[in-house]
């Protein structure tokens, strides 16, 4: 008899890294769909291109490192990095911007450190940070919420034109994010005066709220499937809300409402999809609580006193 020898346990749950990542991908769908719905085809192009680049770059480096290709690619992690970075970029991002970002994410931040599980930072966010510092202009051209099919909507062809860098987006198409606009309202302008001037294209704030709620739906799915635990999102958003409430209570004329901070930017996206990246986050339950809370505090500090003109969607904006 030639019998199989294995160490215990001899049975395993039917989970895999690949399926975990697949659930994360699935959970991003509501957010991406809502973003696309409000901000046009550009979002979708970004996501698809970044995801494709993720797989391509990962395969390239794996081949250079002589690592098993198929097994590793099946973990879907490069795909997740691509989708997260793609969803974070402004809808008018040109192709080379995405390429630079993905090279930084997959090649530098992930594979150079040894691949999945070895990266000290979230690859997608390393790519994002690099782009933000290197290409502030491109990175701050957010779109106005013109929708997919409205009168002013940018068609797929035009979006592709922006993507390929053939067509420059006009001023009418672009707009600031609510958080960014509010932050740069100026010291002398009171919050009430600022909002009275209707500083954003119509529907902007509603669009952001809808997007935030869509990410929340995706996050709920991850929680329900136990892909992530509640500790980081709850402590992150909790700390953010506490601090926002304190600031607002101390001086309502210069600080946004807690709800504005919660839903006006990418806080929800960051709390459920970025901060929960297991590789770079804290591991123990207690550690996760501290980790999330620290991020929440940092977000509020940067939003209030940060100097850079950061925009969507570093979780700060």
């Amino acid at each position: 008899m030639s019998l199989m020898h294995t160490g215990s346990p001899h049975t395993r749950a039917a989970t895999s890294t690949g399926s975990v990542m697949a659930w994360v991908l699935l959970a991003t769908l509501p957010g991406i769909a809502t973003l696309t719905w409000f901000f046009g085809w550009g979002v979708l192009i970004n996501v698809l291109f970044a995801a494709g680049l993720g797989i391509g770059l990962e395969a390239l480096i794996l081949r250079l490192r002589a690592r098993p290709l198929v097994v590793t690619l099946q973990d879907n992690s490069a795909l997740v990095s691509g989708v997260l970075l793609g969803a974070s970029l402004p809808p008018f991002a040109p192709w080379w911007l995405i390429l630079v970002g993905m090279v930084a994410a997959i090649v530098v931040a992930k594979q150079l450190f040894g691949g999945l599980g070895q990266n000290p930072f979230n690859p997608a966010m390393v790519g994002y940070a690099l782009l933000l510092i290197s290409f502030p202009v491109e990175m701050t051209q957010w779109a106005a919420p013109q929708g997919l099919f409205g009168a002013n909507a940018i068609g797929p062809g035009a979006a592709l034109g922006h993507f390929l860098g053939i067509v420059e987006p006009t001023d009418a198409m672009t707009g600031a994010t609510p958080l960014d606009a509010f932050k740069h309202k100026g010291e002398t302008v009171l919050a009430s005066e600022f909002w009275a001037t209707h500083p954003l294209p119509p529907g902007t704030l509603d669009a952001w709220h809808a997007v935030a709620l869509a990410w929340l739906a995706g996050g709920a799915l991850l929680l329900f499937k136990r892909i992530i635990s509640w500790h980081i999102p709850v402590s992150l958003l909790g700390a953010l809300l506490v601090l926002a409430t304190l600031m607002y209570a101390s001086d309502p004329s210069h600080h946004g409402t807690p709800l504005f901070h919660l839903l006006g930017g990418a806080a929800i996206f960051g709390a459920f999809f970025i901060a929960t990246d297991p590789v770079s986050a804290a591991t123990s339950r207690k550690g996760k609580l501290y980790y999330g809370a620290a991020i929440g505090v940092l977000i509020m500090l940067i939003r209030t006193w940060g100097a850079t003109r950061m925009r969507w969607p570093s979780p700060c904006y």
């Binding site: 008899m1 346990p9 049975t11 989970t15 098993p68 599980g117």
Partner: protein, 624 residues
Amino acid sequence: MADFDFPGGIHPPERKTLSNRVPLVQAPLPGRVILPLTQHLGMPAEPVVTLGQRVRTGEVIGRAQGMISANLHASITGTVSAIEEHPVPHPSATLGEVRALCIVIDADSTHKLVQKDEGSGELRQKDEGLGESRQKDEGFGELKQKDDWLRLPPLDWRASDDETLIERLRESGIVGLGGAGFPTSVKAQVRQRHAIDTLIVNVAECEPYITADDMTLRHYTSDILEGTQLFARLTGAERILIGIEDNKPEAIEVLNQALRKPIADDIAVELKVVATRYPSGGEKQLVQLLTGREVPSRGLPTDVGVLCHNPGTLLAALRAVRDGEPLISRIVTLTGEALDRPGNVEARIGTPMQELLAFAGLKPERLSQLIQGGPMMGFTLDTGSLPLIKTSNCLIAATAEELPPAPPEQPCIRCGACETACPASLLPQQLYWFAKGREHDKAELFNLFDCIECGACAYVCPSHIPLVQYYRASKSDIRAREQEARKAEHARHRFEFRQARIVREEAEKQARREARKKRPQDSSAQAANTTESDSSTARSEPAPTTADLTAQLRKLKIAQAAARAAVKKAEKNLARISEARQSDKTELEDMEIQLATARENLQATEARLTMLQAQSQDQETNPS
């Protein structure tokens, strides 16, 4: 439901219906048994039979050596045909064959096993009664093989004292049948060191596939309940809890019925049904579930006043006491999809596993993996020619589809699923990194040795990392290192023992000399009192004065008390060490030798003391 909870846990597919749908049956008597001399924790037994010797079923063939050991009995009637090394089932067998000294007995060859119907021979439940009813059970079917029993006289445990009962357990080779095979007689003496208030019968049987405890309980309900009373008596427990998972409704029903008519004077037995969740049957987990008491790190349930027993052990203990039957058989689950007729059988210890598997309808072409124990904590075996041993509670003959090989190991993504599943509140991921980086100090600091190797972490790991293997490797590295240190210590202790022995022998020799010297002196005392005493004082150097003697006597008495305390301490240490399941042989040996040293010292002091006392008496009676 249980009143308390333990952290973590998982819900693997239970797969118990494979084997718990058919009644417990008697396995056919094997024509040959292979009986390893180590089937328990501690020292191996010493063979006390010779080649070619005829033995009867139940006859002692191996004697326990040292404090932690167990007797071994012939499990069939026949002739000792070999005493040799043979492969045995062992957790390390995954890494390669493990061999141990075994006694092989061949049944008398004239009576070959004849069996008309394999499925027959359903075991009748024994209500009460002694050996005869059991003999009837064995006479089932068309068995022609001779089964000539040698039993000890039956005991009425209610009327016997503790020493008699414990001696009976020791004599009968009873060991824990649930897991590690710890000698039951040692466990029964627990009250000497710990106050026990609760006895827990562990019928949780949380491992998938295994149904042996379930079936044992269903078929021997009253015996097991009586066994609990016996052990409550021995341990002084005031409370008896039976912990059982809610996936055994039949056993729960049978128990409830039995408990409805309690026997007068018996301690009330509480049935505690717990939710099915692996590993609720882990000793520490069950204690926590049923009593809310947490067993301290690196401790045992006895530290919190609880003693756990497996129902099979209780049954074996009761049979040893009530029927005078030693441990020569056990109930084992034969299961897995490579078997046509899975179920539970009562089989003789030493039966080659392949005979049992054949009895259960093994399809060899479907077999991909043979596992002793459950799929979570069991270990794979090389071949079916290994013997069934006292701790073999389950054999899984699995097909490749049933228990497929683990997918390739992928990098840890630090998802923390292992931490959520860990029933011991450890940080499995942290331990994994430490084990991988061979940072053993850190691993110990993170309580690696509190890991019960239940496998819940590896079960949930999405990266298919064989975590338990990493922990085992780390543990054995640490143990090896500790053992190196202990070896040196051990050498020192051996030397000390030798010194002590020499001193003792010297003291005894001197005492004998003195005694010899005194005798002729006593007889001639009246005749030549003065001259004799003169010459004696001249011979034994400066004559000790009375004051000198008293002072020396006092000194020796103090030394004797100290030596006595040292013996007590060494005994206690040995008991403690032998109780801790993880201690190995060297450690035990070392403790035994320390104890022996202390005893030598005590003997030497006592010899000197008696000598001196005689001298001082001498001086009092005939002052020179």
